[in-house]
């Protein structure tokens, strides 16, 4: 498994200290601080995810760097969404799901004891495949997160957050006159940008996007892609996409997942083939399977 030659046990020190609310682990494994590469926001170590007896992904070792857009690509059933959903403990909602291995967030194991999944999800926002606005007003959709997290209580303070979030999501001008109307009346592209605004309203550290453009038309897709590039200075973004051009266009790093079929049991398990700089993945990938996939000659 190619991991761009980085040792697994590097945990950046200065970021660990900034996590006041989350429990921190004693970083006994911290051996050196790599100054050449940006600090890792996420690092999975031998990550295996099971749904019941079925192993969805096997031994994934992946790093996600700060303020970069990391794209997870690969064929259907390769487990890229499953891996993404480990980053905000969203797999907890699936009763049969079980996670093995470690998912480090700034060095803290998200699946360790005492980790508050609710707090994790406040810091790691998620945008889903299909736009899923709440059946409420546009204002309430965005104000909900700040309200429950206690960021703002007063309507005036919430209004500031709502406007800022909508502006960041490039939606403000379109909806500023109808904040109190239902979010369900918006177009699909608008709904998805609303979901992005909703996710960034709670001021997260990371934005996870699970095929955010798969139900959108090309114009709406372009807007979302531009948006991602605009906000990447503030957030670390991990995006799952089926669209290789999209990965090539927006991402800094790309991780290619593939499916491994067990000959005897016919069980299909996702594996990480390689992760590297996006240009490298799309021009001179290290692995044969990656090359066949990105050039469209995948079996």
């Amino acid at each position: 498994m190619t991991e761009s030659g980085k040792p697994m046990n590097i945990v950046n020190e200065n970021v660990v200290g900034s996590d006041s609310g989350l429990q921190t682990i004693a970083s006994s494994e911290r051996t050196e601080v790599d100054t050449d590469t940006p600090p890792f926001v996420f690092e999975t170590i031998d990550l295996n995810v099971y749904y019941g007896d079925f192993r969805a992904v096997r031994d994934v070792n992946l790093t996600v760097a700060k303020n970069e857009i990391t794209a997870l690509i690969g064929p259907s059933g390769c487990g890229k969404s499953t891996v993404l959903r480990c980053f905000d403990r969203m797999n907890d909602l699936i009763e049969t799901a079980r996670v093995d291995g470690r998912v480090l967030y700034h060095g803290l194991d998200l699946y360790g004891p005492d980790v508050d999944a609710v707090e994790v999800r406040r810091r790691v926002g998620m945008v889903f495949q299909k736009p899923n606005p709440f059946p409420k007003s546009i204002f309430d959709n965005i104000a909900y997160g700040p309200r429950i997290s206690g960021m703002a209580k007063k309507k005036a303070d919430l209004a500031v957050i709502v406007e800022r979030s909508l502006r960041k999501a490039a939606l403000w001008d379109e909806v500023k006159d109808r904040l109190s109307s239902s979010a369900l009346g918006m177009s699909g592209g608008q709904q998805q940008r609303l979901c992005i605004a909703r996710a960034i309203a709670v001021d997260p550290d990371v934005l996870l996007m699970d095929e955010p453009c798969s139900s959108l038309d090309p114009i709406a897709t372009t807007r979302i892609e531009e948006l991602m590039k605009e906000i990447k200075d503030e957030y670390t973004i991990v995006i799952v996409t089926h669209n290789m051009q999209q990965a090539a266009r927006v991402s800094d790093r790309t991780a290619f997942f593939s499916v491994e079929v067990n000959e005897q049991s016919d069980a299909r398990t996702g594996i990480l083939v390689e992760a590297d700089a996006t240009e490298k993945i799309f021009s001179t990938p290290a692995d044969d399977r990656t090359e066949r996939y990105v050039t469209g000659r995948f079996g």
Binding site: M90, V118, F128, P133, Y144, L184
Partner: protein
């Protein structure tokens, strides 16, 4: 043949392509099936129609003779001419109130726990099966339960054979129905709504309170009103619990006194009038049935109205 090539579609070829698309002979089999289905529907409707027409026809003299007097009159199994249903209507409404207050919060809470907090656990699966079985337990058995527990065991609290004890018995009877309909309404709430709420850092309770329950409210309300209609129509359990079938004296009591006093209900009134040997009571029985039917239909109409009024589109 290359269908995509326009050159191949022309003249004689096009006729060959469309041959058999028109002029097909009459499809006897499917028409027969359709006719059979309409017939079964008609038969079911006919039974209902006959019932209603018969009830209305039998009670017609009473409705033309003394409608107001009948609706406001008291339970009286001695004299058909002065028999009325007011105490029955009042008793049924009070029973429904007790059922509502007890079964609604309990049933919704149970369903929320089963669906939202422990949905995948073995315990939840086991409980769900048993709740379904409970919903199928005959109502007379609930009557025995009510007699043993609400009348005798905690008679000091309920006052014995009272509206309160009767209401609790009916609440136990419809509780499984409330749990099942609420569970179904909760399950119909799309997963993305839950994920969206969890995604911005909502706790389990915040997801339930702010998103799942509001989204499921129309379904929960509809189910609850339908279960109330079921409770309003039950005779056997409240007969066992001790609803009055003969003369019932009620004066100017307070609401609490009435709640913990002797009572009767519409199905019991019907039962009471129906077993009188006097032919004159036939009218009163039919008229009381019409009143109960109207009450139940009203509740069902309310349920349908609630569903249409608040039903959400995703």
């Amino acid at each position: 043949m290359a269908l995509s090539s326009p050159a191949s579609i022309g003249g004689g070829t096009s006729r060959a392509m469309t041959a058999g698309l028109t002029g097909k002979s009459f499809d006897v089999k499917s028409k027969m099936v359709e006719a059979a289905l309409v017939l079964t529907l008609a038969a079911s409707m006919l039974i209902l129609l006959v019932l209603i027409v018969d009830l209305l026809a039998t009670s017609w003299p009473l409705w033309t003779d003394r409608p107001g007097d009948f609706l406001t009159g008291s339970l009286n199994s001695a004299n058909a001419q002065s028999a009325g249903v007011w105490q029955g209507i009042k008793g049924t409404l009070m029973l429904c109130l007790v059922v509502m207050v007890v079964a609604f919060p309990l049933g919704v809470a149970c369903a929320v726990y089963l669906e939202e907090y422990s949905s995948g656990s073995r315990f939840a699966k086991w409980t769900r099966i048993n709740v379904r079985n409970l919903a199928g337990v005959p109502s007379i058995v609930y009557g025995l339960l009510g007699l043993a527990i609400f009348v005798n065991a905690i008679g000091g609290f309920t006052g014995g054979r009272t509206v309160f004890a009767g209401g609790l018995t009916l609440a136990a009877l419809v509780l499984p129905i409330v749990v099942i309909t609420t569970s179904e309404a909760l399950r119909a709430v799309p997963r993305p709504i839950r994920e969206g709420a969890f995604g911005v850092g909502a706790t389990q309770w915040e997801v339930v309170k702010d998103h799942v329950l509001p989204a499921a409210a129309p379904g929960i309300l509809t189910g609850t009103v339908l279960s109330l209609a079921r409770a309003a129509g039950e005779a056997a359990p409240i007969l066992l619990v001790g609803a009055a079938t003969g003369l019932l004296r009620t004066g100017n009591q307070s609401f609490v006194e009435q709640l913990t006093g002797p009572f009767t209900a519409m199905p019991v009134v019907i039962f009471s009038y129906a077993r009188q040997p006097d032919d004159a009571f036939r009218e009163a029985t039919a008229a009381a049935s019409v009143v109960l039917l109207a009450l139940v239909l009203l509740m069902n109409a309310l349920a349908i109205w609630l569903r249409n009024r608040y039903d959400r589109k995703w």
